[in-house]
Symmetry: none
Subunit: 401 residues, 4 copies
């Protein structure tokens, strides 16, 4: 009586950006779509899926999502990490897509039904200097956004995160190298937000991404210096391999903190959450083991007053955005959703029923997660290797990007 | 397009025992059944539901389980506690029953699919003295049980938990009063399990319930004295309002510990779980806010190597057992399920598709949780007030039952 | 020689608001009055008392208050929670009323005699905007109040706690739904108190109730932003199921904190008190198990420099206010008493000898707690179901009210 | 003047087992060999290297090992995990091989020179029952081994870790599924070591691997039960994603504990080490980022009295063993080295100058790490997909292998 998986295919395509997509088909004719994109390391995940894991799916009951998740997580022996957990996520989301289709329900219904009708989102505004950054904010505000992440160039630095300098190199050949000076950054950033508040008043939600570049004490300094400007959050002020390091930041400032777009499992955040060291968790469905696992992360967060703030750069495919919006429709402790429009070509390959309106994102009502994938169209956009940036201090030292 | 609730009725009946049942009906013709029985305080829950909460359900979308849960939990203002959380559980289980029926799936499929085919269960064996208790164990073992909770009378005491003395009074008029002497109990209990291991060998799982009567240090003494007999667990050695009190027990013995049949929310167990002070959590679906909330408890448990060991006395109606077995079918960190057969008359009122076989319980495959309720039959078994026991020390002091 | 209880009746009436009153009569002709009102869930408590507990009181010695308390608390098996503890409180206060009458003494004498002659109280001043709120404060100050809780509408929100918007719905049919935006609140509230201090100078005690709506970190932000205005306290900035969460608030601000009107037992506050995370405890006699239990809470508070600040909204009947003022007359670590006048009709049903004068409340000298109840008058005011408000974020998410 | 990398090739071959080997060639004619084998997920690492990372090495100075390590670790953005850290390890070891060859020195000289002449090693002895296991121990002892890991079949289980049952399936098609029963294991294991000590006396070092299958409390029980037999260590009694979980084990037993063959970075062990929760750390050069990173792990260990006990199953290629023995030659806090002979065919592909003698392993004196790789020979042994086992409880639940 139960259904069974008859095919599991990985397709790597590049409609504007590289995406790794998993298609699972069942004997009863259902198709599930999962995203398994790991920006800059796409083919390793594709190999993990195609060469090692996909063959194991054939013949299994697609309804046994939990068992398959545990089979892949525990059964790999070598646990966690971005490649493994992205591969598992691709399968998990495809299976939830199938289950929701089998139930004839939009995915959020299986999670517990709608807790809200629309999801607040934030977008990006960048500029080479403060004036340019604020103009970018103004443009986003006119487009209806109520929350904007602002990044501005720092005088003396050529290229920093979120702000694209000129002549930056060829990311298809090798990572572009940015430069970094923490002192300059710490001096400059409060000016950016002082100017932003002056121009836009108190209501617009302002966010900022420090992109892993500070020590905990420097992050505490940054946090304090930004408190007068009431940011929605400061993201990733420090790397988080050492979760206890965040105690230092937290002890010194009440600036809201967000973390976790690079996290792959609940263990990457367990102490950060349970010691209430952060306010928003950004672990995504695609990189943290899928809906099955991220639901556990979000539920742990809820116990400790932490809200979701999912990563949503456009290197996560429309499939991940679709799943995220169904998740956001349900999850009681929703915070905010990052939103960056996908490349125009992606619309030739992916179809979706989620939408943007007035500073919010809306999930659709189609059965499943509502995102489709056109394999023939995908074939028109072959994979092209591309790298994320790296970062060096001005003396040449490798630093965190 | 969405369905809506058109009726929510509470039925209190007593087919052998008192049960409070909630029936929710929807415009599309679906019916959900929930258990809201709180042994000895049934009518307070029935009033909570019928007089205050049921009217609020009419017209709502039954698919919005999470929103309704939050509405009832946060919206009550006065939170937690057995009456409130049992009422919420009754509604929550009925709504999950409806959602699974709407999806045409057995409930465990909505939770993530089957992680196992059968659920290990334990039953009860009691005796006025050790010999009688062991005979009772032998009878259960012959019936196929692989795990048996053993309670024996303590010399010098008339009536203790799990062992019914004679002339015990009329529980319909007032609580029967047992007597208690911790020293006698601590001296006697190791003898019970020494004899049990001698008679039944090392394989049979033996459990024991200390029923809240010890201090943490006394519990540590008990635990140490039982270590040679390798119990599956010692249940409720101390009351748990002060969760930190269990640190003392835990620091002194490795005897496995179970706790929580009286818990109503995750907050009752948060420290017990996160400090790994227990091995099994017994919070039930009916008393801890339903599937929506117990899923969160179980997931927290999993992070800390705690397994489920749901309460399953027969004052929980067949509906709760049905829901528990669907839950157990899915939950990755399943431990064991308590099982006590319901009164024969209950079969005239409730219908169920779960079953017992060879020391295990099996969930059914009907859509929903698989338990039905016959309102007309229920009317033949009117409610009759009955009390749980109380307990006094031999000097007359009120003690924990 | 000992007296015995011959009757225990529950009366639910609605002289302006709903009240649940317990009347206990003894063979010797004494009558004790207890309040068992749980706003919005009144009938569940009434059922708990009338259907389950009252019958057990008949024949007992009313002087055995401690034994009866333990009998009801431990003997219920299912412990704690608002319904249970309110029911126990109703009985406990009635028994203390009887005992004091038997002694021919005002209740405070049995607690240890008077520690003070009058109890500082605070009242409420609300306004749709800051100007209106401050006018309300001025009116209260003219009436002699030395401490005023101030709540003001937040621009952009229709209806928030303490401030009644227009056309908000029918609380007799269902909870009125307020809306909430934490960012707007955090921006606006400091302005309210800046204006209040400007207008009223430094001496008037200003209080504020955040009504459970913030995360700990947001509460820390609020506390810091209010420090310049030297509030008497900030009440309930966050929910308190997770007591450890308050460490975050406390580590970041010295603003005095009050908590606990929803608490039902000492366990709800144990960590908050012993870690000195709060300054005032608001657990009330009616919802936290009566005089017997609240005395223990207050005594624990004293060890850790925490003072009483009893809840005193007018959904607590005049009986609770009477008991609270006797308690306040005695308790060494008295802080302040909330005071909101009861509806005029309540005076037709209840009689009391406590009084207000010059910003203080005074307890009476009649034997017992000094509050009487006219059952015939009560019959003129039948119960009418009414709900407390609920609260949603502006995106529709259920939130804490 | 500096050299530069002109080629970086990945070769996947299967001389008896699958191995992933990285060959780096420099302009000056030096060749470095690295192992990047991740058992059961080999091709994902090969893709990570060949498709994403190897191109970035071309043109770099091979002497800049630290910079390249940081470039790959920080520059990947998505950090840690088995695939990433194994890929980095492959490069790191090849670069250290080159540097040592450039210096004309055996690798241990660059680490700080020899601290000892030989490295104590342990090997494996398994048996379907206790008698067979002890015979295997005897055989190993006769071969000179002074330390033996002993695993025996558990009555009632078909196939458990380290003990191969019959007819177990085809690991080339899918993971073989073992079965598991913790109770049976806990009862049986003390008997194994009681018999071993009886037969072999007190001097032989006995080790045991619980292979991640216990909860912390069960591990404490195991540890206590084995204390009389003075084991060298108990390995991996529990999974280690939650490092704090080991506090429970450690608080209850003094049995020496080893952990970490699945670890990929210092962050996986930071709390285990700094809280002294273990005695031996098993993180390997191949899976934990190479010599550059494991040196840091070992140095942290030394601060807290933790010794090395490197994983050394034969799915780590001879390259990893060569590097490990140079590391062991130097590292001050060396503990023991696991040793399992490689398949005979591996000798056709790899050449090495390390050797076994009298219960110890000896590193060679050739420049570099002393292990060579014959690409032409490798071509004769094409990759064949094979899976590690998985494990289920007897009720079907997925469990840790």
């Amino acid at each position: 009586m139960s259904d069974r998986i008859i095919a599991a295919r990985v397709v790597v395509c590049s409609p504007g950006r590289n995406y790794v997509t998993l298609i699972i088909e069942t004997a009863s004719g259902l198709t599930g779509i999962g995203d398994a994109t790991l920006n800059g390391r796409e083919l390793a995940v594709a190999s993990y899926l195609a060469d090692h894991v996909a063959p194991l799916l054939i013949g299994r009951d697609p309804a046994q999502i939990e068992d398959i998740w545990q089979y892949l997580y525990r059964g790999a022996y070598w646990r966690r990490g971005p490649v493994t957990m992205t591969a598992i996520a691709g399968i998990d989301v495809a299976l939830w897509d199938i289950k929701a289709k089998a139930a004839g329900m939009p995915l959020y219904q299986l999670l517990g039904g709608a807790s809200r009708e629309r999801m607040l989102c934030y977008t990006h505004a960048d500029g080479a200097d403060i004036a340019e950054a604020l103009d970018a904010v103004a443009a986003k505000r006119e487009h209806g956004f109520r929350a904007v992440r602002v990044q501005a160039g720092v005088p003396g630095l050529n290229r920093i995160y979120g702000v694209h300098g000129d002549g930056a190199g060829d990311s298809y050949a090798r990572p572009i190298e940015g430069d970094w000076d923490t002192s300059a950054y710490l001096r400059h950033t409060p000016k950016l937000f002082e100017a932003a508040r002056e121009r836009f008043g108190p209501e617009l939600h302002l966010l900022h991404d420090a992109h892993h570049r500070l020590t905990p004490n420097e992050a505490a300094q940054l946090g304090r210096s930004l408190e007068p400007y009431r940011l929605f959050w400061v993201e990733d002020p420090v790397t988080a391999e050492a979760q206890e390091g965040w105690r230092r930041v937290r002890s010194q400032t009440t600036v809201p903190l967000a973390v976790g777009e690079v996290f792959n499992s609940i263990w990457d955040a367990q102490l950060l959450i349970t010691e209430r060291l952060v306010d928003y968790l950004r672990a995504t469905i695609v990189h943290a083991g899928g809906i099955t696992h991220v639901r556990r992360i979000a539920d742990l967060c809820a116990l400790y007053s932490v809200r979701t703030g999912f990563h949503g750069a456009n290197d996560l495919s429309p499939v991940t955005m679709g799943a995220a919006l169904h998740f956001g429709r349900w999850v009681p402790n929703f915070g905010i959703q990052e939103y960056a429009a996908h490349p125009a070509q992606a619309e030739e390959v992916f179809g979706w029923d989620w939408s943007y309106a007035g500073g919010h994102l809306l999930s659709g009502e189609a059965a499943g997660h509502g995102v489709t994938f056109d394999e023939q169209a995908a074939a028109r956009f072959p994979y092209r290797r591309q790298y994320l940036d790296v970062n060096r201090l001005t003396d040449g030292t490798m630093w965190d990007w």
